[in-house]
């Protein structure tokens, strides 16, 4: 089979591209989390602000990825980063905001009000309440948001090849340019495999990180 031949002949390159792709997604999701989770927590204080922020993130996500990459080009070209990994990471960070902020906000809001009432009533400060109760209980849903963002970023990252970011999308891009089907397939399949593995891996992390008390609750 041509595909298998191709993969056999290009094992190293495939792995390097896969690594590059994973790096791209990893860095983006990390930055997105460091922005999105605190924002998600902060907006639980004010419902109208929350609505606006989540709407904004939603609008960003509705922009077709290739259009967003296109928009970045002239803007970032000013600072010499119109092409390559920088615009890709910026775009991926922007896309990931919605699942992360929305999930974080919902997760914290969904902590039962009786817990918040009991906690405040016994003298927990807002910060203590967050740290001891709300965040631990929100972690499973926040992680689900991260998982969502990761899988989505792996997909969109494939398109980033078109602005020179590298990654497994390169196979798809070059394969199409050269009409070389095995290369296209190699790109498509490896991106899909990467997405599935990432999804499974993060599900495992979700399960391990869920506070034991909550796992018992699910079992009931």
């Amino acid at each position: 089979m041509e595909l298998l031949d191709f993969l056999q002949n290009n094992t190293l390159r495939t792995l390097l591209l896969a690594l590059e792709h994973a790096w791209l997604v990893g860095v983006s999701v990390l930055i997105a989390t460091m922005i999105g989770v605190p924002v998600g927590i902060l907006i639980t204080r004010n419902e109208s602000v929350a609505k606006n922020v989540i709407n904004a993130a939603n609008v960003i996500m509705t922009l077709p990825s290739i259009a967003l990459f296109g928009l970045m080009l002239p803007v970032l070209a000013e600072v010499g980063h119109g092409l390559g990994k920088v615009p890709a990471v910026i775009a991926l960070v922007l896309y990931s905001q919605l699942p992360i902020i929305r999930n974080t906000h919902a997760a914290v809001k969904n902590v039962p009000s009786s817990l918040v009432e009991a906690g405040r009533g016994m003298g927990l400060s807002n910060w203590n309440l967050l740290r001891e109760v709300q965040i631990p209980l929100a972690v499973p849903v926040i992680l689900a948001g991260l998982r969502n963002a990761t899988v989505m970023s792996i997909g969109i990252g494939a398109i980033a090849a078109y602005i020179g970011a590298g990654g497994l999308g390169v196979y798809i891009q070059q394969g199409i340019a050269r009409s070389y089907t095995p290369m296209i397939l190699a790109g498509a399949l490896s991106v899909s495999l990467l997405a599935i593995l990432a999804d499974l891996g993060m599900s495992l992390v979700e399960h391990l990180i869920t506070p034991k008390g909550m796992r018992l609750k699910e079992a009931h």
Binding site: P112, S114, L115, A118, G121, M122, G213
Partner: protein, 385 residues
């Protein structure tokens, strides 16, 4: 210990103004358990939540241990008071021990001290520390969860407890059990407690004093006996219910009403003939027979007529006795159940302490209405038929 002075709370929302509390003034004395009683929406929960600043006051002051609550930071104020709510609110991501330890930990107690206190509290609420310390709330029954909730509230030795229908979510049997256990605990600890309830029976059982609220106003603030025997107006009368006579009886004990040295009592080894002669002489229709000081049987002249030996051999076993500490409500109920109108009363050791019949109950009940000063407030006593 907790003083409410002209406390007023008005909720203003677009379109509606709700007065949850109107010029409420009263004092909860140190060591007392005061029940805030009233129907839904009367403001009792709002008043409780104003006490620990979960709700702000529109006007008036609340002083806790002499200090205005506004002088303390809310978080610091709340750490000085235990708070127990109906849904319990145990943190599901923490073990029983971690739940109980949360306030001490935030106050900076050292580990050993916390462990010791946790164990002490688990034993106080009668949950085996070895078994329950590392369990999660999801693994506990409703009653167990609520007990842990109480332990959690007591952890840092607060002098004051605020409780909002704490036992309301339990089934009647568990609720009665936990009420008894809590009363027992309170008799040892002597905390100052504000306890919200909508259940008149719970209020009568638990309270040193009851504060009755209606639509934001304090209607009456008295002991359970006075609330029942001298209700202040039609609202309280209606709220305490039609069976207030029975509820008054629930507050009195058998040993407060019984005849302490009735004469129709005889030792079991007395000859039957002698007993019969005694009964005929004094005109007794029946006599109680004791065995080693304990009520064992009863006898009528008919039973003893041809009896040869000791009276206890001819007498009929007593099916039921009541304890000196039983409530008059229980005694009356037992009279109906067992179809008897006189019982022997026994002390803690099972020894004969007195006799009680319907007449004594009725007299005791009427006496509780005797010193009525204000005729308008007095509820007419039950008339004999």
């Amino acid at each position: 210990m907790i003083e409410y002075k002209n406390v007023t709370k008005i909720f203003r929302t677009p379109g509606r103004t709700i007065t949850a509390a109107q010029e409420i003034s009263f004092t909860i004395e140190t060591g007392n358990l005061v029940v805030f009683l009233g129907p839904s929406g009367c403001g009792k929960t709002t008043l409780l939540r104003m006490t620990n600043r979960l709700e702000s006051l529109t006007s008036g002051t609340i002083c806790v241990k002499g200090k205005n609550i506004m002088e303390l930071e809310p978080v610091k104020l709340r750490q000085q008071m235990g708070y127990v709510i109906q849904q319990v609110g145990l943190f599901p991501n923490k073990t029983v021990a971690q739940n109980i330890a949360i306030v001490p930990r935030l106050l900076g107690w050292n580990k050993k001290h916390i462990e010791h206190r946790t164990e002490e509290l688990l034993e106080m609420i009668r949950l085996d520390p070895g078994l329950f310390r590392d369990r999660y709330p999801a693994e506990l029954s409703g009653g167990q969860q609520q007990r842990v909730g109480v332990a959690r509230a007591l952890a840092s030795h607060p002098d004051i407890l605020l409780m909002d229908e704490p036992f309301g979510s339990l089934d009647p049997i568990s609720r009665a059990q936990i009420q008894d256990e809590f009363l027992n605990l309170q008799s040892q600890l002597g905390k100052t407690i504000a306890f919200v309830s909508h259940d008149i029976l719970e209020a009568i059982k638990m309270a040193d004093k009851i504060a009755v609220f209606d639509e934001g106003r304090l209607i009456q603030y008295d002991s359970p006996e006075l609330i029942l025997t001298r209700p202040a107006g039609s609202f309280v009368t209606g709220f305490i219910g039609e069976d207030r006579a029975l509820n008054v009886l629930a507050l009195m004990r058998a040993d407060q009403a019984m005849r302490k040295a009735p004469e129709n009592v005889v030792a079991g080894n007395t000859p039957a003939s002698e007993t019969l002669a005694f009964m005929e002489q004094r005109g007794f229709g029946f006599i109680f027979v004791l065995d080693d000081g304990r009520p064992a049987a009863f006898a009528t002249p008919a039973m003893l007529k041809n009896a040869k030996s000791a009276v206890i051999d001819a007498a009929e076993d007593l099916p039921f006795v009541v304890k000196a500490t039983d409530s008059l409500k229980h005694v009356l109920s037992s009279m109906l159940t067992h179809d008897m109108d006189t019982f022997c009363v026994v002390d803690n050791n099972g020894k004969f302490a007195g006799a009680i019949s319907y007449r004594e109950i009725h007299e005791r009940f009427l006496n509780s209405y005797k010193e009525s000063r204000d005729d308008e407030k007095r509820v007419p006593p039950v008339r004999p038929h």
